[in-house]
């Protein structure tokens, strides 16, 4: 790790002010992507602004039509939240599938989303459920937020404060883990919403999370695995690595989509 200066603001406003002053800065949330990267000397911020002591970034709120997670809410808190489990059980289940118990005790929803790792789970949930990402400056629809590998709509120094997930009629997440890293080799989040059906795929796309629109169309008529029969995802634009080539990933998108739809319908 290279040397850096460490800052620990206690409010979003303070953090934002620090961000405008500090050169070559990075925010640190749970740190479970950033710190390993810094340890390998692949990231070298001169200033590190820790969001860990900002109380206003924490907490889970449930309303009739949505669940809102403070950006610094940790995966373990989401997984264990009775409100989330009741309102959007798929979201709680997805959080429980991230990393391992120790990672879930540190990793946060805001950090996961801001990083937009192509194998992260939260981007799929955000896209499928149609989440709104709230920052200290504005509200951004998930569809506009994720802009490719590790790239988001966030501007320099902009801080995610919370993420709001509309309650879906039915939803589920099916994840096929990379055998080694346990990140998503293919993760499919399906959501049947009042207006449409969404199938968001993470881990597979060479440009990050994407929607499998053919499956969405097929499921719009009848939300069930039967509707997916004969449908296969295209391997174009999918990742190939030692664990899975594009063809296998494309196949897994089909399998995981069916499994997610099955789980969502089984929930009733």
């Amino acid at each position: 790790m290279y040397a850096f200066e460490y800052h620990r603001p206690t409010s979003v406003r303070q953090a934002a002010t620090l961000a405008t002053k500090a050169e070559d800065m990075k925010f640190i949330a749970g740190g479970h992507t950033l710190l390993p990267t810094m340890k390998q000397r692949l990231a070298a911020p001169a200033n590190l602004i820790d969001l860990g002591q900002i109380a206003e970034l924490r907490g889970i709120e449930r309303s009739a039509r949505s669940v809102t997670l403070g950006a610094m809410t940790r995966h373990a808190e989401v997984a264990g939240s009775a409100e989330v489990q009741e309102a959007i059980p798929a979201l709680a289940e997805m959080a429980e599938m991230i990393g391992d118990p120790h990672v879930r005790n540190r990793g946060t929803v805001g950090g996961s989303i801001a990083n937009n790792d192509p194998a992260a789970d939260y981007p799929a949930a955000c896209i499928a459920l149609g989440a709104t990402i709230v920052t200290n400056k504005r509200k951004i629809a998930a569809d506009d937020f994720f802009q490719g590998l590790f790239d988001t709509a966030l501007e320099e120094g902009e801080i995610i404060t919370k993420v709001s997930f509309p309650v879906a009629q039915k939803a589920a997440y099916a994840k096929f883990r990379n055998p080694a890293s346990r990140y998503a080799l293919v993760g499919v989040f399906v959501a049947k919403r009042a207006s449409d059906v969404r199938v968001a795929v993470t881990g597979a796309g060479s440009n990050g999370v994407f929607r499998w629109t053919e499956a969405e169309e097929a499921l719009k008529g009848r939300f069930g695995t039967k509707s997916l029969e004969g449908l296969s995802a295209s391997a174009d634009g999918l990742n190939s690595d030692i664990h899975a080539d594009a063809t296998y990933r494309a196949h897994l998108i089909g399998v995981m989509t069916r499994r997610a739809v099955q789980a969502a319908t089984a929930r009733g």
Binding site: P179, S181, I242, D245
Partner: protein, 787 residues
Amino acid sequence: MNATGIGAPVRRKEDQRFVTGQGRYVDDFNRPGQAYAYFLRSPHAHANILSIDTRAAKEMPGVVDILTGEDLAADKIGGLICGWMIHSKDGTPMKAGPHPALAQGKVRYVGDHVAVVIAETLAQAKDAAEAIAVDYEVLTAVVETATATQAKTAVHDVAPDNTVFNWHLGDKAATDAAFARAKHVTTIDLVNNRLVPNPMEPRAALGEYDVGTDNYTLYTTSQNPHVARLVLSAFIGVAPEHKLRVIAPDVGGGFGSKIFIYAEETVCVWAAKRVKRPVKWTSDRTEAFLADAHGRDHVTHAELAMDEGGKIIGLRVHTIANLGAYLSTFSSSVPTYLYAPLLSGQYDIPAIYCEVDGVYTNTAPVDAYRGAGRPEATFVVERIVEKAARELGQDPAKFRKRNYITQFPHTTPVIMTYDTGDYHASMDKALEEADYRNFGKRKRESARNGKLRGIGFSSYIEACGIAPSQAVGSLGAGVGLWESAEVRVNPTGSVEVLTGSHSHGQGHETTFAQLVSDRLGVPIDNVSIVHGDTDKVQFGMGTYGSRSGAVGMSAIAKAIDKVIAKGKKVAAHVLEAAESDIEFKDGKFTVAGTDKSLDFASTALQAYIAHKFSGQELEPGLKEGAFYDPTNFTFPAGVHICEVEIDPDTGVTKIDRWTAVDDFGVIINPMIVEGQVHGGIAQGVGQALLEGTVYDKSGQLVTASYNDYCMPRAIDLPSFQVGMTVTPCPSNPLGIKGCGEAGAIAAPAAVINAITDALGHEDITMPATPQNVWRAAQKNATKLAAE
């Protein structure tokens, strides 16, 4: 049975410190004034070093010194060695290229050592390493095992076609004749995948030099500290043997990878004198992937000949073994004498011929990893036997039994003489415990759920108790493979055992103490096992090849016998009886046929106070040493049965059942032995399903972290059903065969045989990852559709 004696599942003495965080591993040691070493490693698989400019780096904050291969040469420090000479078929010695601890003119794999930075902190050492300017002339990398000899570039000048040796074993003419009269021939092509050992504790070294006494100390993660000292002194020349103390304290697993003498510890000792400060290096995991010696990496073609009755009459094997960029300490012995002599398996095969081409590539050196040669042999034998049974339409268990060796001793055509065993007993017990008869039912049940179920056997044998010194000497070993022990009885009757074996997870502090407690009747808490420090312990050969029980404990048993003999003399004087009338039993020296006795502790006290005998009659004291050189290898053997269920939709293979029945001879501590079996199976399953080392075409290591190299996790494994049969080993005084490697040797073939059984075809390579299995299942589906 004595509650702490031989055969008792005694809870481990060492665990108190481990479960409380009080273990002391190398990285836990810090010496006053210590500086930190960081190695600048080659980013290229193959390159000439045109220049190294350290001037700017030396000016960086905290830098103590930066050393390169030039400095090594100036100090006349020799290269790392390979301690086993292999001769090719034509009689020429193997082609050993130079192996400097820091590169001299050329780098040969990604991770090769270019320079060492020594600084006040590790961070400063890393900072400075980035400021070293190295001018490389990049050369074409030789990466693939199968094609290394056809490459246009040579890794070493001494081996222009990258061939280290063309070695062979067995009778070619007799084997060819067997194939000529065969009624059926089964052939198979196999890749034994390269593995990275990955003990959880990364390697570390802390070198120290005392200017006043001219003494050196090295704390190192070693399985064999005396061998490390011998090599560092006699061959590499960093310090005279009597001036170098090597300490291998608690060591967090080895699995072979900590046998070898590496560049890093060499440099730490040497640099400690140069900079006059202790120098510490601790590997991070990425460095471990790059520069620990890897294991396996064979490409093999094998043929099995059978007569009309399904009796095996011949085996022909050709293997290309990748030895990496340099010959590591024992590398040359692994694909030769630790491999081909096991190709007879448990079978009576009259003719066997094996050729092995050892090749250089621009990859990390390959050396012994748990099993070392024997897993590779078992994989060949058990895969081809399984395939032959299927081709002949025979039940694989029956086919094996038809061909088992039943008479002992049995001399194979590949130089081994198996001393004892009962292979039918192991198979019968395994079939019973695996509920083989109901396998069909389970397979149908799986099919109803859309899953493919398969069962696979592995009837493995290994040669352990390494090894009779004369025998291995005649085969090219540079050392003898005996073991030493000293049993020191204190005046209070407590006992210290100094052993040349080294424990890095095996539990010697408990099992060795059980032997002492059993033999001398001393409470186990009054027995200490001392190992891992060349200043305390006499020369010994260390722990590898499942040798510590069969060889290390045999040495202790010999020393104990001498202690008892001496004790009888002491007791005879005290009890005023003839020495020949003294019996030793249950911890007491007794005058035969009387109730006159002296307990062990009193005898020890009498030996030291020496009041009851004169110095002319008897030497005072009670301390005896022994060296034990085995008379033969030992031959643990057994049957492992693996049952898998494959999800054809995803290719995920679940191991549903695992049955192991092993014959390890006499068992000292069944709890520890079973633990060894569990761990071995997990590593074998890892090889079969999860672990694959991947270099890309340019020689970059793709699997250099746990993000890409898949380690077995708890969820990947089932609970194991482990059973035993016992035929005591006649070749050592304790009847022990050894158990440390069995699981890793047996498992890969059992898993792959189960998967191929489930798939209905043989086309799968290790590791059988979900992707590979899915693809193989696709092939199956296509084939079925076509039919």
